[in-house]
């Protein structure tokens, strides 16, 4: 963003001010995530930088909280991680299937009441989680699915489908329907056409929607707090209790792992988005 040489001084000042603001905002966005890293290696039990850490004394750093996270006695993280992954994987599969089907229907130009139905399908993303939590809890309690994995998976499918619907409809917006017609005219049945023609083309959108659904489920705490019993605890629930009650650095070790996981997911999602845009011929 080099300025042309003829720029007046006041615009020059304004320009540097603008750059300074942007730098501050980027710092504000990203810096909080980096506090977690060093503190998770703290040798002491407090969530502050000890004097030793400020002097970069190697004695002040240790892996004890990571050890605690994995091998600690009576520690809930193992069970929580297992539950989180199981719930998130099933919720993702459910969201992908229901969401992709719905997106295919919504993208058809014959679809009646498109706007209204879309608004209903997206609503779980917009309605405050606490309200979704209360409503889903009433339902699950009535059908006897409260405090079960099935109940939580169903709840997370509700919350995850809007993302799949949005990403897949976006992918389908540039979709050339003549290819499916060509397949049909060559004698392929609708299922085959979908599996061999449509799905490979919309796959990037499906996967990135699935990633959103996975992250939503993996990070969801409000609804799980209503639904979960002791056996259904998940990582976010454990973090929530930890942050409210005993603030132990183990949480930071877990948080560091979660940041690494989200970085991986971000990279995957970005690569997929670019691939999808390339496939659809959108040049940026």
């Amino acid at each position: 963003m080099a300025l042309p040489s003829y720029t007046e001084t006041r615009y020059r000042i304004w320009h540097y001010f603008y750059i300074a603001i942007c730098t501050f905002v980027f710092f504000f966005l990203i810096a909080p995530l980096f506090v977690i890293f060093p503190l998770s290696f703290n040798a002491e039990e407090f969530l502050v930088f000890s004097e030793g850490m400020k002097r970069l004394d190697p004695e002040a750093f240790s892996l004890r909280w990571y050890h605690e996270m994995v091998y600690g006695t009576k520690n809930p993280w193992g069970l929580a991680a297992k539950n989180s992954f199981i719930i998130a994987i099933f919720a993702t599969i459910g969201s992908i299937i229901l969401g992709t089907l719905a997106a295919l229907g919504l993208s058809s130009r014959h679809m009646p009441y498109k706007g209204l139905i879309m608004a209903v399908l997206i609503s779980p993303m917009i309605v405050p989680l606490i309200i979704s939590g209360v409503a889903i809890f009433f339902f699950m309690a009535k059908v006897g699915l409260a405090a079960t994995h099935t109940g939580i998976v169903m709840a997370h499918i509700i919350l995850g489908t809007p993302f799949v619907v949005i990403t897949v409809t976006a992918t389908l917006s540039g979709f050339d329907h003549s290819v499916t017609r060509a397949a049909s005219s060559l004698g392929s049945n609708p299922f085959n056409t979908f599996m061999k023609i449509t799905l490979p083309l919309i796959l990037p959108g499906v996967i990135s929607g699935g990633l959103f659904a996975f992250v939503t489920s993996f990070d969801e705490v409000v609804v799980v707090l209503f639904l979960a019993g002791l056996e259904n605890t998940t990582i976010p629930v454990q973090m929530w209790t930890g942050l409210r009650e005993q603030l132990s650095p183990t949480i930071l070790a877990v948080a560091t792992c979660l940041i690494i996981l989200s970085t991986l997911i971000l990279v995957t999602a970005e690569l997929l988005r670019r691939r999808s845009e390339r496939l659809r011929g959108i040049n940026r």
């Binding site: 969530l47 014959h110 309200i131 209360v134 489908t161 990403t167 705490v221 929530w240 942050l243 409210r244």
Partner: protein, 420 residues
């Protein structure tokens, strides 16, 4: 030549128009069948339960079912003087059934909420009935009135009459610090006990200011991202997307560490001499913490829609504005800014909708003065177990959100929500 157009027929001999309509209908059904599974699933597990929250919030059938004969007899009572004999008799026989089923305690508690003092007089009446002190061949009205002087007070009978309808709006009134007074009119709660109105206003205030902060911080960086060359902007975009993909609890945890009294931000303030070491300001467990954390967490939802709009604005427009004699400020204000308004609308509405229902972050960093209406709903769901009140408050919040959602849908369109 006849002017009449000949009807075009398909090879089957059916008029083309009919055949086309049939095909259209078939396609419509096909498309709808694809959406149907998700729609059905959502209706059963989500939309109907939200509707059920409504019935729960207005439900007041408990007493209606407990005192059927009383309310039947009360239909003829004008409610001005003490009720006639048959109301007392009805109440007596209803109450005897309750004692046999051992559910009379619930009635006392519920009536006590309607008017203070019911608990003791219903218990007293129960003891009299259990000792068979009430002679059913005599006037029951006279005997009940002798049990306690409050049974002779018409206000208590009026209170019972008020509980007769199976539905009540009382929970909604309670949500805005109002209640039904003894004469059935709507009254305000005492000024020092109006906690809910404070919460509603605070929720609005925090959502509004978080939206403004997000806009003020999001606009410049969205502009920078949209105008920088691709290779730099992709790198900077990670700064926006990484927090977006990171667990909400992780981000809240990092703010708790940063903002605590011995935390990094306070350390920094002490280091640059802004505050003394022994008077570190409290930045967490109050509104400051809620504002800071929520702004950072919701900022990506402002930047992404703004960015996607700004990306489509050609830089030549600004150059044209300047070449026509506008200063950079004028060119920005008259040309660029109006073009970004769709993005501003989308971002602000999205952030506002998300902020107004926030729960986790205010609960962790908000303390007592930073909690929002969602926290109150959770409190009634989990601690006081007043589910009908929680439902009422939830629906009041929901109606507000749905209005904004409707505006958002009109202005932006739900299918234009940008993710990543």
């Amino acid at each position: 030549m006849s002017s009449e157009t000949k009807q075009i027929l398909t090879t089957d001999g059916i008029p083309l128009e009919v055949s086309l309509k049939k095909a259209e209908k078939k396609n419509k059904i096909k498309a709808f069948l694809l959406v149907a599974p998700l729609l059905l699933f959502l209706f059963i597990t989500y939309v109907f339960p939200i509707g059920e929250m409504f019935t729960r919030s207005v439900d007041d059938k408990m007493i209606t079912n407990m005192l059927p004969k009383t309310f039947k007899a009360m239909e003829k009572w004008d409610g001005k003087e003490l009720p006639p004999e048959d109301v007392f008799a009805g109440f007596y026989s209803d109450y005897k059934v309750l004692i046999e089923n051992q559910t009379q305690g619930k009635l006392g508690q519920r009536l006590n909420k309607e008017k203070n003092g019911f608990n003791s007089i219903t218990k007293k009446l129960m003891r009299q009935i259990k000792r068979n002190k009430i002679d059913e061949s005599q006037s029951i009205k006279e005997q009940i009135m002798k049990v306690h002087k409050r049974w002779r007070d018409v206000e208590y009978w009026q209170a019972i009459k008020r509980t007769a309808p199976p539905y009540t709006m009382a929970k909604y009134l309670k949500g805005v610090d109002m209640y039904f007074a003894a004469d059935g009119s709507i009254a305000q709660v005492d000024e020092d006990r109006r906690i809910h109105r404070i919460l509603w206003l605070r929720t609005l205030e925090i959502a509004l200011f978080v939206t403004i902060f997000c806009f003020l911080m999001g606009y410049p960086i969205a502009h920078l991202l949209a105008t920088l060359p691709m290779k730099y902007s992709n790198l900077l975009m990670i700064c926006v997307l990484l927090p977006f993909w990171t667990s909400l609890l992780v981000r809240t945890a990092s703010w708790m560490i940063l903002l605590q009294q011995q935390g990094v931000v306070n350390d920094f303030f002490v280091m640059i001499g802004l505050v003394a070491d022994d008077s570190r300001p409290e930045m967490m467990y109050n509104k400051v913490g809620t504002y800071v954390a929520m702004t950072q967490i919701l900022l990506p939802f402002m930047v992404l829609p703004l960015y996607s709009v700004m990306k489509t604005i050609s830089p030549s427009l600004m150059r044209a504005g300047k070449s026509l004699g506008g200063t950079p400020f004028v060119a920005f204000w008259k040309v660029y800014f109006p073009l970004t308004i769709p993005g501003i609308g989308a971002g602000c509405l999205l952030v506002f909708i998300l902020a107004i229902g926030y729960y986790i972050t205010p609960a962790l960093v908000g303390g007592a003065s930073g909690t929002l209406i969602s926290n109150q709903i959770a409190y009634h769901m989990k601690t006081t177990l007043d589910w009908s009140f929680a439902s009422a408050m939830g629906l009041m919040l929901l109606s507000g959100v749905l209005v904004i959602y409707w505006i958002y849908n009109k202005l932006v369109g739900v299918d234009n929500i940008k993710l990543g």
